[in-house]
């Protein structure tokens, strides 16, 4: 379980997170929605301690991670986390196989001879069986995301963080990534935390959605609850996003998302 307690973070005096409070339960597929620049990615980076919050506490399975300063302690803590970066963040100089096995050396005690087997297994999960010898520059946008996802799950983390997983992808590839996220959650029993402004993604795969607005969580609930929310910010955001973001073929007869949350 991840408990976020009154987290504040400012950059150059400008508050990005302002007393954000939230609890993410084990096994959830939890989406954080909100407009660009509202602090969604900052929140994720605070949870994995890529950024240190100015104040507040973040408890991961009861352990407060905000005050850990030792890099070794943080490295141990990160064994629990997988992180899918917005652009994939694959290492350019390494092949897909090397990228996927990269974290195994640092995060696990698995013998090196097992690496190729694990990598192939994870690449098969994301449908990239034949790409193991390719370099990131040779992959398409969707393949990069899938390879990055294979890397994120290679060490079998307990929590996986997705930073804008469908941004920059075409609708078909977006669908594929959505299905992958659902599959990962179902097959690997991973707690998924997704930050996105893709409202369609959030409504399709989340078990719970929270809206980050002006630095804190304004509303949270199931996709159905958010869809029927009377909160004007949520209403405006979801309607605007659905009308402008979702391709016509995915919208229901009412102009909203045609797919139901799982």
């Amino acid at each position: 379980m991840i408990e976020i307690k009154k987290i504040c973070k400012s950059f150059s005096g400008k508050p990005v997170l302002d007393n954000a409070d939230m609890v993410i339960n084990d096994g959830e597929t939890f989406s954080v929605i909100g407009p660009s620049g509202c602090g969604k990615s900052t929140l994720l980076k605070c949870i994995v301690r890529l950024i240190k919050p100015d104040s507040g506490d973040i408890l991961v399975d009861g352990q407060n991670i905000v005050h850990i300063e030792d890099e070794f302690e943080l490295a141990k803590l990160r064994k629990n986390f997988g992180y899918l970066f917005q652009g994939g963040a694959l290492f350019d100089s390494l092949t897909v196989m090397e990228n996927v096995t990269f974290g195994l050396k640092y995060l696990t005690e698995i013998p090196r001879r097992e690496y190729p087997r694990i990598a192939r297994e994870k690449l098969a999960l994301v449908g990239l069986e034949k790409a193991e010898d390719l370099k990131p520059a040779e992959l398409s946008g969707g393949m990069k995301k899938r390879a990055a996802l294979a890397r994120a799950i290679a060490a079998e983390p307990k929590y996986i963080f997705y930073d804008e997983p469908t941004t920059g992808l075409d609708p078909i590839t977006s669908d594929m990534i959505m299905e992958l996220i659902s599959d990962m959650a179902a097959k690997l029993k991973i707690t998924s935390i997704i930050v996105t402004h893709d409202i369609r993604l959030a409504f399709t795969i989340s078990t719970r959605i929270a809206m980050l607005d002006k630095g804190n969580f304004s509303v949270s609930g199931t996709p159905e609850e958010l869809r029927n929310s009377s909160d004007p910010t949520v209403k405006k955001f979801t309607e605007d996003a659905l009308c402008s973001g979702a391709p016509a073929h995915r919208r229901g007869p009412d102009g909203k998302n045609g797919r139901k949350a799982e």
Binding site: K45, V48, L50, E71, F72, L74, A75, R78, K79, F81, G82, Y83, F85, Q86, G87, A89, L90, F91, D92, S93, F102, G103, K105, Y106, L107, R151, A152, A155
Partner: protein
């Protein structure tokens, strides 16, 4: 007017202090990881090949022609002054071994590899690959900095030795072909006067140059601003700063070595 000058000077002094502090923290982080974790031998080898082996040809070419031009200039100068080419070997060897080989090799490496290191680390930073290192259980000090520092410190002194030999050989060719100086005279001019400490004077400096080039190129990469423009700017700054600092360090280290008797 005075007010603006003071404000500008204050701002620059603050920025300099901040940068020096950040460099100190970067080095501290490396030292900590150096003792706490096993070194990335594969990365050290990979970087050494990239910095050393791949730079060998350009280093040899540079020093070869430097040796040749030194012999040419010394030959004509001594012919004008004394009517015959004297001490070409001595002049070429001392100039190369003590100054030109270490400085030129370092400048070539700063331009060729320092720039590439800054661009690579800078690109990794703006594409979140540095953040990815943290999430995968390592960090830039361990995976990026230590191997690059080790590679610079291992290869620049070795390349300098190659540069010494090829430069002296270049001088030998000009001396014997152009000025018809006998082989034995050329080599005798070198070995009569050259001592180990003369060689050490140039060789020891290369360690300082290597450490400085590694520091500048890695630091500029890690602190580069977002976007292609940021990476380009950081790369240019790294090359210019490295080259200037090679010259500045050269004077002070030479003075220090002379003071301790390594002349």
């Amino acid at each position: 007017m005075k007010h603006y000058f003071l404000e500008g000077a204050g701002r620059r002094a603050t920025a300099l202090a901040e940068n020096l502090g950040a460099v100190a923290l970067m080095i501290k982080s490396m030292v900590v990881w150096l003792f706490k974790a096993r070194p990335e031998v594969r990365e050290i080898v990979r970087q050494s090949v990239r910095i050393g082996v791949d730079s060998l040809a350009v280093t040899i070419l540079t020093s070869f022609f430097t040796g040749m031009v030194l012999a040419l200039q010394m030959g004509y100068t001594s012919k004008n002054l004394f009517n015959e080419p004297l001490y070409i070997g001595t002049m070429v060897a001392f100039s190369l071994v003590k100054e030109l080989a270490p400085v030129l090799t370092s400048i070539v490496i700063a331009g060729r590899v320092g720039a590439a290191v800054t661009a690579e680390i800078g690109t990794m930073k703006v594409t979140e690959q540095i953040d990815a290192l943290y999430t995968l259980g390592t960090n830039p000090a361990r995976y990026l900095l230590i191997p690059r520092y080790a590679a610079f410190i291992l290869t620049i002194p070795l390349l300098t030795i190659f540069a010494d030999f090829t430069g002296i050989f270049g001088g030998f060719l000009v001396s014997t072909i152009k000025f018809h100086v006998p082989n034995s005279v050329y080599w005798n001019d070198i070995f009569t006067f050259m001592q180990i400490k003369n060689f050490m004077h140039g060789f020891l400096k290369t360690f300082a140059f290597a450490g400085m080039i590694a520091t500048v190129s890695c630091y500029k990469g890690l602190t580069c601003e977002a976007g292609a423009e940021g990476v380009g700017k950081a790369t240019t700054e790294a090359v210019v700063l490295s080259m200037v600092l090679v010259m500045v360090l050269d004077y002070f280290i030479s003075a220090m070595l002379v003071a301790v008797g390594i002349i």
